[in-house]
Amino acid sequence: MNRRLIKLTLIASALGGLAKPTGAPPDPFPIGMEGSLIVVLPGEPLKAAPVGDKSTIILRIQDMFPHGSDHRYDLRYFGFVPGEYDLGKFLRHADGTAPTNLPPIPVRIRGMLPANHDGMLIEEETGNFSLPGSYTAWLIGTGIVWGLAAWPLFLLGRKKKTSLRQAEAEPGPDLAEQLRPLIEQAANGTLDTYGRARLERMIFSHWREQLGLPEDGDMAELHHQLKAHAEAGPLLHGLEDWLHRPPGTSTVDIPTLLEPYRHPTE
């Protein structure tokens, strides 16, 4: 029931809209904006007039439906020149002739410029703010100020880098100093597995450093070279025996082996 009521209301309002072309013209549309209008017109189906160079309005028919013996049109238009227009004058029969039996279909196009505008360009108002002196001088000045402000920041960063480098250069105890407590513990028999692994690696590094062997060389080859060295060889072989041989099979006397490193002569 309600649905039927809504339908009737919509039809009534649509019919009300249809009366508009014959009554007051719709609200004006600004130049360049598309307006729409639904009208019922008598006679055969009509088409939009072709657009020429001097056309002040462009009309197109978005949709057309049979409406009893007439036709209902959904017209879309937009104008280029402000004023009142009769859209009926922009419609044509199928053969291109202008229809004569149409009611007026008034529309209004409004301009975006003031009504009393004389067609001259409007000069942009300049702000009150103006810089004393030339723009170039200001640019140079700003550059100098920026440079002066950035200089302390640059120095600050440099100082930090330098201190980091200093920290890297001063890592605390050197390899020999780091080795000493490990050697002491090894000689006393109190060195744990982790310490033993460190001791072996550090002694290898110590000798690699001593003999000036490359750090990026083949490690297996370096090991081989060091083990063949007259001074480093016995120590590395002794360490290997102590650290890697099956328990109870090593005959190395660790305190004696490490003695030269406990009390270095240099």
């Binding site: 033993r196 072996e200 690696r201 690699r208 990026d216 490690m219 297996a220 083990k227 290997e240 650290l243």
Partner: protein
């Protein structure tokens, strides 16, 4: 007993040296793979005697040997086997594929489609194959030696990290030294012709393969058992863990070595120690094997690759820092 084992290693090496010039490191890696039951990936350009080498070792130890050339149209059933309908009795019989061998040479493994690679690598891991409803255990020992060409990339399927991890070792073969290459040429000049059925074909190094083995499968098992007795100290384990963990922390490495890398290192080091006549491992074993055990298990970051950093240089840095 110890003397016999040592002699066997020497005999195998001697037999290989009769046919293949140089390649001592590759022979050592092959023996490590054999003694530990691990799989080996050989990476190198064609023409470095990979196939000849594998076949020589297979003959020297009296092992069953199969070779499969991997291609794009290879199917998993071409390797694993399949059920075939016997029309005489209308029953399916199982046809076992070439994987049922002791030593399988998977030539150019990266040419096969991923499903074939995956089927092979699963069999490598589980050491058994299921065909139809039946599960078949692979022979023991079972070892896969795969090869891949690092240069040709078109029409290949790169093995993903997870599958590469199943290879205990990945050895990158290099060209022989000048002297060795001259020796290769000298030997080939002396090969001559082989006359058969009224015709003749030029002899190749494959014709020199001595069929009589210097060791049996039983000897190999004995050597495998001996490798398991090689002592691995706590200190060596610490060194191994330290190196593997450093691969995970290095700024140029995206994915570092897995715990399996550490396990592979220990096993390979044991075998290397055995081959060098020791009953305990030493850091030199770790450093000698690091490249073959670790390099295929790590992936460099994109930024590092863009800067031209190589895996070898990163590994050298890690080993140097760890020392």
């Amino acid at each position: 007993m110890e003397t016999i084992r040592k002699n066997l290693v020497l005999d195998v090496r001697q037999r290989v040296a009769e046919v293949v010039v140089g390649q001592d490191t590759v022979v050592e890696r092959l023996l490590i793979a054999l003694f530990t039951g691990g799989h080996l990936l050989l990476q190198g350009v064609p023409g470095l005697a990979k196939t000849l080498l594998v076949q020589t070792i297979s003959n020297a130890i009296d092992l069953r040997f199969s070779r499969v050339q991997f291609t794009i149209d290879l199917l998993p059933s071409d390797i694993l086997g399949s059920e075939v309908l016997d029309q005489r009795n209308n029953e399916f019989t199982t046809h076992l594929g070439p994987i049922f061998t002791n030593l399988l040479l998977a030539d150019e493994i990266n040419r096969a489609a991923p499903k074939v690679q995956s089927a092979l690598l699963e069999a490598m891991q589980e050491r058994k194959v299921t065909i139809g409803n039946e599960t078949h255990a692979l022979p023991a020992p079972f070892l896969v030696i795969a090869t891949q060409n690092p240069i040709e990339q078109s029409g290949t399927f790169e093995l993903p990290e997870a599958q590469l991890d199943r290879f205990m070792l990945c050895h990158r073969l290099d060209y022989p030294a000048a002297g060795e290459e001259e020796d290769v040429l000298r030997r080939s000049l002396a090969l001559g012709l082989q006359r058969t059925d009224g015709g003749a074909v030029p002899r190749t190094a494959f014709d020199l393969l001595e069929k009589k083995p210097v060791a049996t499968g039983g000897d190999l098992v004995e050597m495998m058992a001996a490798v398991q007795e090689v002592h691995v100290s706590d200190v060596f384990q610490k060194h191994t863990v330290e190196v593997v963990r450093r691969t995970r922390r290095h700024p140029s490495i995206e994915i570092g070595g897995s715990p399996r890398a550490g396990l592979a290192m220990i096993q390979a080091a044991r075998a290397r120690a055995f081959i060098h006549g020791r009953d305990y491992v030493v850091p030199e074993d770790l450093y000698a094997l690091a490249e073959d055990v670790l390099l295929h298990r790590v992936r460099l970051k994109y930024e590092a690759l863009a800067e031209g950093v190589s895996g070898v240089s990163v590994l050298k840095e890690i080993l140097s820092e760890a020392a």
